[in-house]
Symmetry: C2
Subunit: 526 residues, 2 copies
């Protein structure tokens, strides 16, 4: 397939006439061919009109038809072959193994939602049968199901050019829910975006769906990004990126004549709590494990462990010595974009320049101007509490270790943290009591609590939560990874005394779709 | 029980020191005893501190304990006896029968959430067991459950002094979810509020729960209302009232350092579509049925039918003649507050003064200055489309009939409506095709679609949706009536590789709570 630099508007491809974007080869900083013309307000208008026109038909396609479509998307993405991997490698600087794995994840994600569609539990079907003889008043026949919210604007993320981008989790879950999707492609990997976008476009065609089910635009955050979020036909937003970017979209969405939900996955420092008994028994091993998680993918994960809390003392010294050694073997890595590298270097310089923070260790030196060097810092609990800037995310392989005088201080620090995607507890049997104190504090603050693991590595499954209170996301009632992500794009509708001929299949007598339904509150397959 | 005029702060009662509020006897306009001292910022602070202190304990009480608490609240409300009814009658002007019925609804609502707690489906438990041998990477053990959001600020509604007020649906669903509640009592029925508040306070005590589970404040919208929504310990808001009031709270909530969800049920004109065959066969009966719904409770329902669409012609003339006759027999009714009466009269005067609108009929004349007279207006589809003000809610027994030239115009008008709580279709067998065209348009715009009924009368059950797209509510993904309302106050948390000793009961091996759980995606009672 040739990468043309065109946007995808329904079934057509079109060169944008606004300021063009060029990919930059991450490893060299050199601009790449071709140019991708930026979208205009008219392109936003056209994509939204197509999505709106497709909505009523698409949302009422049989779940099996949508499942087959998601599987066709998966297959079409696989069919892009090595071209997708090599383009994504060039644009992101991520290594082949990672991107091949990420393609597997992306395809698996689409297939998970296909199976979720066949399961049907997302329909949330409930029936309260009529009680015509009830006194003092009869009860009407009431039937509830979840329906699609409407067209969804999806913003690709820079750090997962496949799994959180054009055909990533937001797109897969919105399409599963019955929502057409308009993607604003991330400017850091436009070629990768076009390849995946064309794969989805071909699946729309081969499945005979209305063309407006999927469109993809290149262009600026202002014209295309804000334009999409402001369009009255867009009914929800999926975003993964920076706190500044996410809050800007939240503001636009809240200020519309009809405000809409924004699912923005933004910033998280993913605290790791090293409890005393675990430290006493395996501080050195934890130091190595931690560095493995910290440096994975150049630290460019939303779940990168950016904060470590432990009791001051010799065990922590052992942990740091081991981490220092491990970090010494960690090569500098190409970062995703010059902007991300620069922000990382600025964050690291701020920490290094803070006279209450000590640099503990560094990764290997960069061998090219596009690489980031890992860095580990430490400070005391008292200093951390005094300086809120120390709790800000530094996106990349940097982390800050807090020396705490006692477990109570760790609890107090935990209580002071903003909302997070994850929190990790390293513990042994003897730490149960401390963990019990920590658990409720973490439950209030995070979406996922891990024991004796590291937060990088987000399973795509039914029980995953990749979400959490603000500012880790804009809406802590949701997850952007795993099958529960479909719930973000649904809303309940009740049908009262609706004739059988008008009822949606999910709610008809005799349960033709074989769904789990609550009949008068009792769950079963009637 | 004596009504003292005191606020309830946890286990204590306290006279507010801010500007006092007095109830006004709805029928006479006379101020009533006692004065209710308004809450201050310090009272807001104290109520939120108590709620926060109670949160971790209360959210982890066994569901059975919360169910027993909700039942104790119901019993305590019943135990207020006739005093509650007579006070509510005086403060609201609503008749005895309605308020006795509303108390039954309130108590039934609390009991419904008790049964919902015992059902346990709201837990949303999911378990993806570990796959230690999976290649290339093992899968950790992942377990998900829904937990309470945090303390909730609830705003009582004027039009349901029992069922949507201190002990109403928002309070019941938030308490069921495990959220402490701080109520801002509505200033129109402070005595009713105190009686119900004391009933809940006594249930908190008798159930041995932390006192901060429930507090209730009187006072101004600015100090107490906005103060509660801005407090960092409040994590969600439940509100029923005007569009202006709801949007002001939305703005405050979105502008917090940590934005929080607002569930505001605001404005709806509840369109009724009279389809041609039904009109041909039973226009006169429909006219009578419609007026019954229009005038119920002086029209002071969120689901009052404020807009009627029908084809121009003799059948519509029949409908209007029958409605006119029925309206002629409809007495003027005491309205809830002087402010609501005045807003109603202003709305009616605007319609009457619009030279493209014709007054069709009136209810009987008022016999007191506190009563509202029902009114029915008509206009043409063309005029309705030209003047957006005609689609604004007039809260009370007024409705506007639109003469449409054809069904296509009805569809176009439907497509132009804002979000609504309900839409009603009156149809016969021969109208199926028209209804089929209307249905998708309505699904996108409303929370509940009724056939051959009227929208007033909102069943409290499992399949009810009392919600809808903005501006009918601030969050169309939810319902404020029925058991699904509990979902508003929950968020998912995932536990990864958590030792059995730390896992919440809902997620432990062996399913000790006997819940429906999804194991590897498959629903069952393992």
């Amino acid at each position: 397939m040739t990468i043309t630099g065109e946007m995808l508007l329904g079934a057509t491809a079109l060169r944008g006439t606004d300021k063009p974007i060029r990919a930059v080869e991450a490893a060299t900083g050199e601009p790449m061919e071709p140019a991708f013309g930026g979208g205009t307000a008219a392109d936003v208008e056209r994509a939204c009109a197509l999505a709106w026109a497709a909505f009523d038909t698409y949302r009422e396609t049989a779940p099996e038809a949508r499942a087959a479509f998601l599987e066709a998307c998966a297959q079409a993405i696989l069919d892009t072959g090595d071209e997708l991997i090599t383009r994504a490698m060039a644009e992101s600087g991520l290594p082949r193994g990672r991107l091949e794995g990420e393609r597997g994840r992306t395809v698996g994600q689409l297939r998970l939602f296909a199976s979720e569609l066949r399961d049907g539990g997302w329909t949330g079907a409930r029936i309260d049968p009529a009680l015509p003889d009830r006194k003092p008043l009869p009860r009407p026949d009431l039937r509830l199901r979840q329906i699609a919210l409407g067209p969804v604007a999806v913003f690709g993320a820079s750090n997962f050019p496949l799994a959180f981008s054009v055909g990533g989790g937001d797109t897969a879950s919105a399409l599963a829910a019955g929502c057409p999707v308009v993607v604003k492609a991330h400017s850091a990997h436009p070629g990768t975006s076009e390849l995946v976008g064309r794969a989805i476009q071909s699946a729309v065609r081969s499945c005979g769906l209305p063309e407006g089910v999927f469109s993809m635009l290149f262009g600026s955050g202002q014209v295309v990004g804000q334009g999409l979020v402001a369009d009255p036909r867009i009914k929800a937003v999926g975003f993964t990126g920076s706190r500044a970017g996410g809050t800007a979209l939240m503001k636009t969405a809240a200020g519309r004549p009809e405000p809409i939900p924004v699912y923005a996955e933004m910033s998280s420092i993913n605290p790791v709590f090293l409890l005393p008994k675990a430290m006493a028994s395996r501080a050195a091993a934890m130091g190595r494990g931690f560095v493995g998680s910290l440096t994975l993918g150049a630290g460019q994960f939303c779940t990168n462990p950016g904060l470590v809390m432990a009791l001051d003392g010799p065990d922590l010294d052992n942990f740091l010595a081991s981490a220092t050694e491990a970090l010494g073997g960690a090569p500098a890595q190409t970062m995703l974009t010059p902007g991300i590298l620069k922000a990382y270097q600025t964050g690291v310089a701020h920490l290094a320049g803070n006279n209450r923070v000590r640099k503990v260790a560094s990764g290997q030196l960069a061998t090219a101007g596009t690489q980031g060097e890992a860095a580990l810092f430490e400070t005391t609990a008292a200093h951390f509490m005094e300086d809120p800037a120390l709790a800000e995310e530094v996106f990349g392989a940097a982390s800050l270790v807090i020396r705490c005088p006692d477990v109570e201080t760790m609890l107090r620090l935990a209580e002071g943290l903003e909302g997070q995607l994850t929190a990790t507890i390293q513990m042994d049997e003897g730490d149960l009591e401390a963990a019990r104190l920590l658990l409720p504090v973490l439950e209030r603050r995070v979406g996922r609590i891990l024991v004796n693991g590291y937060p990088t590595g987000v399973e795509v499954s039914h029980a995953m939560v990749h979400g959490g209170p603000y500012p880790s996301t804009s809406d802590g009632r949701s997850t952007s990874v795993g099958s529960l992500a479909i719930a973000r794009f649904l809303r309940p509708v009740c049908y009262q005394d609706m004739p059988e001929a008008l009822l949606p299949a999910a709610l008809r007598d005799g349960n033709p779709m074989g769904l789990w339904r609550r009949i008068d509150g009792v769950l079963g397959k009637d």
